[in-house]
């Protein structure tokens, strides 16, 4: 590794950390919040995250027999909606870089009776351990933000998709409704850390959440990143005034 590489830094929320340190820091955040993750999502978004995920799975138009990779799928929220759709002939792979989140996801899906067509892998989105042209869909909900090298991750997702396959990225984005921004800022930088402290016993992780949303690429930047990774017919849908956006792109 050259000196130049050693000095490379990346965002960890508003802090700058060495590139090689980000994955570990993100892992600590999610190890800390894994047990309370689903409850916190409901509280923080007033339950609206369920609608965002419902919309994502609806647009994915998953059919029986298909293979779906749910990346950064953590506690299995999206996978729980996808597994019944692929049916016994299909296959869902739930992958996450964090073993604590995966363990929660496996327990939850198993408790729901979702077994047999769902598998679990600890993996880094930048270097996916799957063959070329394998999946019909790749989904990643609220995960891309935490990846160190997003361009490498998008290329890796492109590689494992079959020709004709589609990537769906659900992620926080930039609010587009006038007047929403100041309210949203006030909420995320004041209320979120307090809720994080009271419910999950961890204000810092939720401060990271608010900061990481602000430094994540906006709608058009992410769209351009998908196009440079090779995706075609890319487009996005703003949800809740752009607080969240669903990006889609095809491998053709």
């Amino acid at each position: 590794m050259s000196e130049g590489d050693k000095a490379r830094v990346t965002h960890f929320g508003y802090q700058k950390v060495p590139v090689e340190e980000k994955a570990r820091r993100v892992r600590e955040v999610f190890r800390s919040v894994a047990g309370k993750y689903d409850l916190m999502n409901d509280l923080m978004s007033f339950g609206i995250h369920r609608a965002w995920k419902f919309f994502t799975v609806l647009l994915a138009q998953i059919r029986p027999g298909q293979r779906v990779l749910d990346l950064a799928g953590g506690t299995g929220d999206l996978a729980a909606r996808i597994v019944p759709r692929v049916g016994p002939e299909g296959e869902v792979v739930l992958a996450d870089i964090n073993e604590a989140m995966l363990a929660v996801g496996r327990e939850r899906l198993t408790d729901m009776g979702l077994v047999g067509n769902v598998r679990y892998v600890q993996a880094n989105a930048e270097a996916l351990p799957f063959p070329d042209d394998h999946f019909d869909r790749v989904t990643i909900a609220f995960g891309l933000r935490n990846v160190t090298d997003k361009d490498a991750a998008l290329r890796s997702m492109y590689r494992v998709l079959k020709p004709g396959g589609e990537l769906l990225v659900l992620e926080f984005s930039k609010p587009r409704l006038p007047g929403l921004r100041p309210l949203y800022d006030l909420y995320s930088f004041t209320a979120l850390p307090v809720m994080g402290r009271l419910v999950a016993g961890d204000a810092d992780s939720y401060r990271y959440l608010a900061e990481s949303i602000r430094v994540h690429p906006d709608q058009d930047t992410l769209l351009a990143m998908m196009e440079s990774a090779g995706f075609e017919r890319c487009r996005y849908h703003n949800l809740s005034g752009g607080i969240v956006a669903l990006h889609r792109g095809f491998k053709l």
């Binding site: 296959e91 792979v93 870089i97 073993e99 995966l102 363990a103 496996r106 598998r119 679990y120 892998v121 600890q122 993996a123 880094n124 270097a127 996916l128 351990p129 799957f130 063959p131 070329d132 394998h134």
Partner: protein, 60 residues
């Protein structure tokens, strides 16, 4: 570990095939001389969690 998962997993670095060591619960990539651990039935396909193979493990 889920046998169907064995069919689809490849080395995250070279995308080459993996060899399953049932006894040690590891997935071996001879090309990269790495052994990926399987913990609690979940394969850990992360380079920084993999064990470097000893010379006698990759020379046959």
């Amino acid at each position: 570990m889920d046998p169907k998962l064995l069919d689809i997993l490849v080395c995250p670095i070279c995308k080459g095939p993996l060899h399953y060591d049932k006894e040690r619960q590891e997935l071996i990539c001879k090309a990269d001389r790495l052994a990926y651990p399987i913990r609690d039935d979940i394969p850990v396909m992360l380079e920084d969690e993999a064990r470097q193979l000893e010379p006698d493990e990759y020379s046959e």
